[in-house]
């Protein structure tokens, strides 16, 4: 089952993502990006995820705070992202059960 607006949104995401994957390669072959643009692109991923995380944590409670701290600590110590997600979610779960 496929609903029209869902399909259009999925296709929109697909086109936008494909543009990033393919466009970057050909654009950078054709033009030399300015140092400013290059520096800016380097900051995009970090600031983007901060922009997502900050309001979610501000709106969250104990569960979110405990989970986020456990996630950060685990990834920092193990260097493993999947392990961090698992440990953070488990900690949030514990905090939720003990509430």
């Amino acid at each position: 089952m496929i609903e029209t607006s869902n399909l259009v949104a999925i296709l929109g995401m697909a086109v936008a993502t494909l543009a990033c994957r393919i466009g970057g390669y050909f654009l950078f072959r054709a033009f030399r990006p300015t140092p400013f643009l290059r520096a800016m692109l380097g900051y995009v991923p970090g600031t983007l995820f901060v922009g997502y995380v900050a309001p979610a944590l501000a709106a969250g409670g104990i569960k979110e705070w405990v989970g986020a701290a456990a996630t950060l600590l685990t990834v920092r110590l193990s260097g493993n992202i999947a392990l961090g997600i698992a440990a953070g979610t488990a900690s949030a779960w514990l905090a939720w059960l003990m509430r």
Partner: protein, 234 residues
């Protein structure tokens, strides 16, 4: 090094090397599926999204904001903003890609993904230059991504966790965990602080959607780039 730009042996080598990474990404894929089910997406839609978009962070971000009817513009812009980092992967892989043409080039570009990219860069330092290796890595990651999100959807439908269930914290944890490797040192502090403040402000005043994320990234990276380039030209 061998001159062959794309070999079948390379595809097999890449596929083997990426199995461990695919297993590590499995929970991420499951979360995407559970989240998609909770937002009312069908199994087909979930599989289609994972197959066509194949970018976990942007899928989780978009699904978190999913409404009915689907937020076409916000989801597309969010996908573009989250995946803009991929525009830098292709150029970094030029030594591999410039020797390829036709479907071998297009498939490698269309399946670019963070973990595959990271593995390819690490292997190229050891002399690997086979486009087949990159393709083998991406192909295994792509197939397991679709499989995991479909399984996640089935789990989500079966258990139907309530909206405040801590399982959904996994989506937020995915982004929190990505922050650790993205921290490149003290120069990130001010841009990240600006991004957090702008996000909090815009989330308060903007209509629901991904606008606060886009605004935060724009403001934070502008400040970062401004400081960095100003330092280079005294």
């Amino acid at each position: 090094m061998s001159a062959a730009p794309f070999t079948f042996a390379g595809v097999m080598r890449g596929a083997q090397r990426s199995i461990a990474i695919a297993l590590g990404l499995a929970p991420f894929g499951l979360v995407v599926g559970v989240l998609a089910a909770s937002k009312g997406l069908s199994l087909t839609e979930t599989g289609l999204m994972s197959a066509l978009v194949f970018a976990g962070a942007s899928q989780i971000l978009a699904l978190d904001l999913w409404t009915h009817p689907a937020p076409v513009l916000a989801a597309s812009i969010a996908a573009f903003a989250v995946n803009l980092r991929m525009a830098l992967m292709g150029p970094a892989l030029t030594p591999w890609l410039e020797r390829l043409a036709g479907w071998r080039l297009w498939a490698n570009l269309a399946l670019l993904v963070d973990q595959g990219f990271a593995l390819a860069i690490a292997e190229s330092r050891k002399g690997e230059r086979d486009g087949g290796f990159l393709f083998g890595v991406s192909l295994v990651l792509w197939l397991s991504w679709i499989t995991c999100s479909v399984i996640g959807h089935l789990l989500g439908v079966a258990f139907h966790p309530p909206r405040d269930h801590p399982l959904f914290f996994a989506a937020l944890a995915a982004f929190v965990s990505l922050l650790v490797p993205l921290w490149r040192g003290r120069k990130e502090a001010l841009p990240w602080l600006i991004a957090a403040l702008v996000a909090l402000l815009v989330a308060r005043i903007a209509p629901p959607g991904a606008w606060h994320v886009v605004a935060a990234a724009l403001a934070g990276s502008l400040v970062g780039a401004w400081r960095e380039t100003r330092r280079m030209t005294p």
